[in-house]
């Protein structure tokens, strides 16, 4: 597992006051981020916990992509049609993958992007912010 850089980034973010910790489930590491802000309404709470899968070769340049939202959640009193991916159980909690990615030609770029910037990218989902190529 090549994630020393991810560990270091998470430690720095945590030291700076962000609620983030490294969780390793089986062979898969995640950044568990607490308190990602969301507007109420349409969301049913002001902040959510999310999971960001850390590629096992993150240090070698494999990019971050997407995230998981903690369940349950409500969006406009129902479900968000982009919370439609794989469901996983991590730390005895249920999570579901969100189809929120980097646009073509503007992907996660090693050396510029990192876990910090990816968390902000994920927060953009809750705000419907910067959603290019949206298919709502």
């Amino acid at each position: 597992m090549q994630i020393a850089r991810a560990k270091s980034e998470i430690e720095q973010l945590a030291a700076g006051g962000m609620g983030v910790e490294l969780v390793i489930e089986g062979a898969q590491p995640f950044a568990l981020v607490g308190g990602v802000g969301a507007p109420v309404p349409p969301w049913d709470r002001a902040d959510y916990d999310i999971l960001v899968a850390i590629p096992v070769a993150y240090d070698l340049g494999t990019p971050l992509d997407g995230f998981y939202i903690s369940l349950p959640y409500r969006y406009e009193n129902g479900e968000h049609n982009r919370v439609n991916g794989q469901a996983v159980s991590i730390r005895q909690r249920q999570w579901r993958a969100v189809s929120w990615h980097y646009p073509d030609g503007n992907e996660f770029r090693r050396g510029v992007d990192n876990i910090e910037s990816h968390i902000v990218h994920c927060r953009g989902f809750f705000l419907a912010r910067g959603a290019v190529n949206a298919k709502n």
């Binding site: 090549q2 982009r82 929120w100 910037s117 953009g124």
Partner: protein, 209 residues
């Protein structure tokens, strides 16, 4: 029997201010220290004011000579009703000495103790707290060089390429126009985001690296 006391003149300063009716007034401020004779002073009286505060409102307090100038800065800011950014432990804010004729010196080394500083010439017990225009982009704190900056310049300040990132006010939904200057406030929080799209391959958990 109480110990003999000695009154030591620390500082006399004349300050030009304008009163409420527009008249120029000279205020003479004297700082005295009262110490017990024969006893080594463990603390010192200091005066602080905010840099560029036209009222020259000041606060006086005693603080241990062993305290660092960082602690003087933190305590001084609190006395002046301010708090340091981004934190009291690692502030971007500055402490400067105020010398004769209200000449303000260069930013001080905050690792020095007050005692070390007071042993140097020119000597002063009078400090100015400089609250810088600290802004935050994501988790990155920076000192803004201007009161108004374009989002492009703010992103560059945060070492993020404006060609790839959009800048938003915290909780804002619409990106700030990249070339339109934004008026900045101390402590303001922006978010720089690589924008996103719905619908693509599965999440990274499926990856094997």
């Amino acid at each position: 029997m109480s110990a003999d006391r000695v009154v030591e003149l620390v500082e006399v300063e004349k300050i030009n201010v304008t009163d409420g009716e527009g008249n120029e007034v000279i205020i003479e401020e004297t700082v005295l220290e009262v110490i017990e004779e024969g006893r080594e002073r463990e603390d010192a009286e200091v005066t602080v004011e905010l840099l560029h505060d036209p009222s020259h409102e000041r606060r006086h307090f005693r603080i241990a000579r062993e305290a660092t100038l960082l602690e003087v800065l933190d305590e001084g800011a609190k006395k002046l009703g301010a708090h340091l950014l981004p934190s009291a432990e690692k502030p971007l804010d500055l402490l400067r000495g105020v010398y004769k004729d209200h000449q303000v010196g260069e930013p001080l080394n905050l690792e020095l103790t007050l005692g070390e500083f007071l042993s140097q010439e020119p000597r002063t017990h009078h400090f100015a707290v400089e609250l810088v225009l600290a802004i935050r982009v994501n988790t990155r704190w920076r000192v803004a060089p201007e009161k108004e900056m374009t989002p492009k310049a703010i992103l560059a300040l945060a070492d993020l390429p404006w060609q790839e990132y959009s800048l938003y006010r915290c909780d804002g939904v619409e990106p700030l126009p990249p070339d339109t200057p934004v008026k900045l406030h101390r402590g303001e929080h922006f978010e720089a985001q690589r924008d996103g799209k719905y619908g693509a391959e599965g999440c990274g958990a499926d990856r094997k690296g």
